[in-house]
Every structure is written in C-alpha cells, then in structure tokens.
Amino acid sequence: MEAPISLEREKHVKYFLRCLDVLPSSCSHLDSIRMTILYFSLHGLDTLNSIERLSAERRDEIIDWIYAMQLVPAAENRFVGFRGSPALEQDPHIAHTYTALCILLILGDDLSRVRRSAITASLATLQLPDGSFTATNEGSESDIRFVFCAAAIAYMLDDWSGVDVPLMNVYIRRCLSYEGAFANTPMSEAHGGSTYCAVASLQLSGSLNKQLDADELSALARWCLQRQYTGFAGRPNKPWDTCYSFWIAGTLHILGMTPLVAHDENRQYLLEAQDPVIGGFSKYPNHFPDPLHSCMATVGLALSGFASLQPVCATLNIGEKANDKLDELRRIWRQKDGV
C-alpha cells in the first residue's frame, strides 16, 4: 500500500461551516432540500468533533431556523412535520422531518418545541395500503427511503402509534431481492442505500431477527461485504462511491459484521477522495466534493474506526453524543408519561 494520506481535518471543518452559511447559485437545485443539506453539514462537523466551532448564538439561530420549518397544516388528516426549506411553504416532508430531528439532537436541543404526538400520529397519513410511505400527502413517490424515515421518526419520538409496523414489514420483505439484499421498491434491483434503509428500519422497530432468518441474514451480510473492493459500491459491477462507506458499512455495523470489513483499504479509499484544496469529499477521487458525500465519507471513516472521530449510531446516522441525548430525552418522556 502507498504511504497513508492524512485527514485534512481543518479543511473539512471549514467546508462544512461554509455549507452552513451560503451555497453558490450552482447549488440552486438543492433549494428544496436545504434541511437535509444542513444535516449533512452539521453531522459531518459533529463527527469531526467540531460542533463547538459554532457559537452558542449561531447554534440558536440554526435551531430557530429549523423550528421555523415546522408546520402543522390547517387541514385535517395531513402530515405534521418539518419542511425542507422556506421554498416549500405548504408541505412538511418525511425526510426533512427525520433530518430536522437529527440536527436538533446534534445541536443539543431538548425537542421541547417539537409537536411530538402530532407528528407521530400523522405518520399514518403517509402510509399506503402496501405498507410503504410517501414523503408528503400529495404528489410523492413511495419507497423504502421513506419507510426508513417513518421508522426513524417513530423511534426518535418514541411513539409507533402512527405506524402499522406489521404492514411496514410486509413491504420491507417484498423489497428483498433475489440477490439477498434490499431494493428501493419490490422487484427493483438490490441497492446499498435501500439495503441500509430496510435493515435500519427493521432494527429500529425491533423486527430484524424476526423478519429475517439466519440464512437470510447470512446472505445479506455476504452481499454487503461483496460490495467492497477498496471502498464500497452500491450495486454489483458499479464503481466505488464514498457514500457507500456509510450505507453498506453502516448496514454491516447494524448486523454486527464490522470486524469482517477490510478497514485499511476502505479508509485509504475515503482519504483519497478528499479535496485537499477546498475540503470536503467527493464520490470518487479527483472529482468535486458535495455535502452528501462529504458527510457520508466522514461518517464512513468514523465507522471504520478512524481515530479522533466521534463514533456513530448507525441505525439513526447521528453521533454517539446526539444518540445519548436522545436516550436521555426518551427516559424523561417515559417518566412523564408514566411508562
């Protein structure tokens, strides 16, 4: 192996801080998903143990902005949650609700302004008869990504009453492909991102070992491990892409298979994909960085045991500290509810 490349820690911190503030006009296509871009930036920063680079005032500004995105629609039987950006005035979105909750935890917020029971009850308005979830009440596709978002929200807010879990599990199983891993929709191709969503969902609802037998878990682990060359790819015969160092390696982490990953090679690939000038990571070496890959690559390094990075809770994709905060809140809520 070549001489190890070092992590350009400070460059990445600065990259994430820049994303938090202003993005150039070439990023206009990200206008509807600013909440999730915010999540990538803050989760990346947190994994680098650098959240304290934000002043308390800046943290509050961000937290206020997030809460300004929370929306309780006037009409009945509508999803209550967080919007992706001020550009979308009418509709909260399931993915940006998940990322909003993650960010609030990362920033140390106590979720006291979150409309908890309204959100969890209204998840039911997004679940379809086949068990899948849409992202909004109108005009949205349904697939396993939003199943994960629903499971994560229900778990984080500690209330599954708005989710028909058995029906959700039926859909998840239908997404299990002949390859032994999960697709985005039934009969589609097995895919790293979909596989993470399915496995994390099952884990979060406590269904993993009930829905998948030993042979299936074994085949799943093998499929995930077979995505590694140095870095990971998302499908057979596709190029390696840094984000799969989270989607695939994260799945393996949930399955308890992390010791079987070739960590040195994975780390080496990730480090090669850094941009040494402006910071951030791209999907492959010598490409341009973007917030998603910068976040996932940083988290991928943390999962691979890179020193000085904050350990990650793979099922929710938040840092250990944020997860501890969540556990504390769940304890408090249960005490209050007399559970």
Partner: protein, 340 residues
C-alpha cells in the same frame, strides 16, 4: 446555474412583462440569519417569487402553466411545482402527449431526479396510454443502462399495463451488450418471476404436472443462458447471483444440478471467487440435508467447504479474508459440533 437554466429562452424579467403586471411577487421567508442560504440567480429568485404569488392565489391559467415550466426547469426537485403543474394540466385539459414530450426533454437533463419520473408516471396513469414508455426507457438506457429510476419506471409500466411480451428478449439484448449490467439481470429475474407466477396461477386450477414440466423448461433455459454468459467471464458476479436466485425461485437445489456443478468444476481454473462461493453454497445445502453432528460424510463435505474458504481467504478473494475465515469457522461449529 442548473443544467436546464441555460436551456430556457433568454430571460425577460417578469416585472417587465406586460401580462404579469397585475401580480405582486411574494418573496421567500428567510428569517433573520442565513442558514444554508443559496445565492440564487436573479432569474431563479424572481421566477419563484412569481410562482409563490400565483400559487397563493390558486390561479389556474395558461400563464401559470408556463410559469411552472420555467420553475421546474430551474429546480426540478421542487415537488410543489410539479403538484401544481398537474393541477393546472387537469384544469386546462391540456394535451398529455405534449407533456410527455416536455418530460422527455427534462428527464434527459435530469435523469436521476425523482420528481420528473414521478410526474411521468402520474401523466401515464392519467392518460392510460403507455405506448411511448417502452421506447422512451429503452432510449434512456442507451445513455445509462443502469439508471435506477428508468428501470423502476419500466417495471411499473410493464406490470401496470401487462406489457410483458418481448421483455425477456430485451433483457437478453442488454446483457449481450454488457453482461456486467446487473440491472438487466435483475430485469430478467423480474420477467422469469412473472412467468412462474403465471404458471402457478394456472396450476392452481388443477394442471399441477404441466406446471412442473414447464418450470423445468424455464429453469433449463435460464441455466443455459447464464452458463453462456458465465463462460465469457466467470469473474462477473451478476449471472451467478441471478442463477442462484432462479434456483431458489423454482425451489430447486444447487447441488442437484449436474450442469451447474460440472460448470463449477470446469471453471475452478479461472480462480473466480464466484465459482468457489457457488460451490460452498451448494455443499452447504448438502450439509443441511445430512444434518448436524459429525458423520464421516458430513466431515468430508465440510473439509471441502473449509478448503474452498481457505482458497478464497488466502488467494482468490483476499479483501474478504476475514469473512471467509469466519464462515469456515461458523460452519465447522455448526456441523461438527465444535465448541464455539
């Protein structure tokens, strides 16, 4: 500027357009502090300010429709624009063929955007006319034969409108073009799965025997197909996972397939990890049948499996050496009753 911004006609500010004088643009509510703020171009900012104004009035007009086109071109990921556009198309009773043409252009510019594909799906569902879709998706595959959205759309069209005819041949064509196209192999499984479902549906009526014979014919056909592709390159993962999947679908055992076992023996010289893994799986089936607890037969098969794991770990698939060593140990514990 997004890719499609440059495709729009030269910009004339809405403020300067006579037909828009009556509308007061609604600025976006940003709040006091910038958080992931985007430095929008003037065109982007203004277009969406007018969009917000028109949307707030729920205006259902031609100019609103044109506005949604411009807004969609600037940010195709803004799903509110698409929802509103569909409302407008219905209210104005617009020609859906024209919409399909517009969609063809925008999908080509943004082939991995969820909203444009969803819009196309909704338009087809509304028109009940799938006649363009197979050709459209086939054309998209010439640029990127693995586009996930495109395959999903094609599968939906075929399932929704029963357009199964010729799809098996289509997958063969794509696999012939690129045998490493895992999406094409997945599509082939999609078709074969449907064939089996059809057989089982008719068999339920009492033609049980015919069903099994027909299944055997299909299995044989797929073994021959996969074998041909494997022979060209045994290091290609796709045909291996495909044929294993088909065996499972047919509830057939790998180790009982003379063809496959002979193929594997022949191909060991290629040092392909997939050959070795197939043999491991086949032999594990055997072990599963013999039962646990250390008979001579079991020990002999187990020895072969462990040997294959060692070859993979030490020579043919070293990146996964920890896995193959782990698997060998796991199987030894399971079938030899060795202490954990």
């Amino acid at each position: 500027m997004s890719d499609s911004e440059s495709e729009l006609s030269p910009y004339v500010s809405y403020r300067e357009r006579a037909e828009w004088q009556d509308i007061v643009p609604l600025e976006q509510e940003e709040g006091l502090a910038p958080v992931v703020q985007i430095a929008y171009s003037d065109r982007f900012r203004e277009t969406f300010s007018y969009f917000r104004a028109v949307f707030a009035k729920d205006e259902l007009s031609e100019r609103a429709l044109d506005l949604t086109r411009e807004a969609a071109m600037l940010n195709p990921a803004n799903y509110s624009v698409w929802v509103y556009r569909r409302k407008l198309l219905k209210a104005l009773d617009r020609d859906l063929l024209e919409e399909q043409n517009f969609l063809a252009d925008i999908i080509e510019m943004h082939p991995k955007n969820y909203q444009v594909w969803q819009h196309r799906k909704e338009i087809v569902e509304w028109s009940q006319d799938p006649s363009l879709e197979l050709e459209f998706t086939a054309n998209m595959f010439t640029d990127d034969a693995k586009n996930y959205h495109c395959w999903q759309h094609r599968q939906w069209i075929i399932t929704r409108f029963g357009l199964w005819d010729g799809e098996l041949e289509f997958t063969a064509k794509l696999i012939e073009k690129d045998r490493r196209n895992n999406s094409a192999w997945n599509q082939r499984y999609f078709v074969v799965n449907h064939e089996i479902e059809q057989l089982e549906a008719t068999a339920a009526g009492g033609a049980g025997d015919a069903d099994e014979t027909q299944k055997a014919v299909i299995l044989h056909r797929e073994i021959e197909f996969s074998k041909k592709q494997i022979a060209k390159d045994s290091h290609n993962e796709s045909p291996w996972s495909y044929i294993k999947g088909v065996f499972r679908l047919m509830k057939q055992k790998l180790h009982l397939s003379v063809t496959m076992m002979a193929l594997c023996d022949e191909l060991m010289k290629d040092k392909s990890p997939h050959v070795a893994a197939f043999l491991i799986d086949a032999k594990e089936e055997l072990l599963g049948q013999q039962g646990e607890g250390g008979s001579e037969q079991v020990n002999s098969i187990l020895e072969e499996v462990v040997r294959l794991c060692e070859i993979l770990a030490d020579e043919w698939d070293t990146i996964r050496k920890r896995y193959w060593n782990y698997l060998a140990e796991l199987l030894q514990v399971k079938y030899q009753g060795l202490p954990d």
